[in-house]
Symmetry: C2
Subunit: 127 residues, 2 copies
């Protein structure tokens, strides 16, 4: 592989995803469902629209939002213009969220404690 | 602890966070900055507004969005009404995103491969 070709691919892959656009794209149940559908493989607008009982223009609008957020890419060359999942921006979103992990884990630990206590209470017949 | 008190706390903690509201709340750099600020400890509207050079009403609007998404809670009793981080909905967001982990990991593996290749090319003097 040529040096500049490698550089080009690295610079493309290293582009910092726009967290505003990524989170905004994810804030819609239809778009999340489309991403789940694309996790099973690339699909054309018609193929995506079918199971969702959505119009093709509605799907196209959602695809545009996902594309701008970098979460999918579409083939320009091929007539069906299939959409394909690009999950990397999700990794960035997760890495931002995981800075807060200590805050949610400690609360879940407390919940575990509560569940244990409930089991004991129930085992004793609710005393 | 009483059985119904335990139940109440579990049912509260087990409430399914609204992913639409959570992702929408996260889709704003100011709101993400406020969450980071609150990770350092509870703060009043004034305390939150100060470092951001934002008006108090602007901060209040952001806090309302965060509160509705379940990402913060505010003390009603105390006069300063300090806001406090509630990170659990982030855990739900991460768990949704992690279903896609295989897709971003494989791409990052490919990037690792590219970086290795680049190092070799450079070591050889860019041939």
């Amino acid at each position: 592989m040529h040096n500049n070709q490698v550089m080009e691919q690295i610079s493309y892959a290293a582009q910092r995803p726009n967290l505003d656009a990524v989170f905004a794209a994810l804030a819609d149940p239809t778009r999340r469902a489309i991403l789940s559908r694309l996790a099973a493989g690339e699909a054309s607008v018609n193929e995506i629209a079918a199971p969702f009982e959505m119009s093709q223009p509605a799907v196209s609008r959602h695809l545009k939002v996902l594309e701008r957020a970098g979460l999918i890419e579409r083939d320009v060359d091929r007539q069906r213009r299939p959409a394909r999942l690009k999950a990397e921006p999700m990794a960035t979103a997760v890495s931002w969220l995981e800075e807060f992990k200590q805050f949610w884990s400690s609360s879940f630990d407390q919940l575990d404690g509560l569940l244990e206590e409930l089991k004991k209470v129930e085992a004793k017949g609710g005393e």
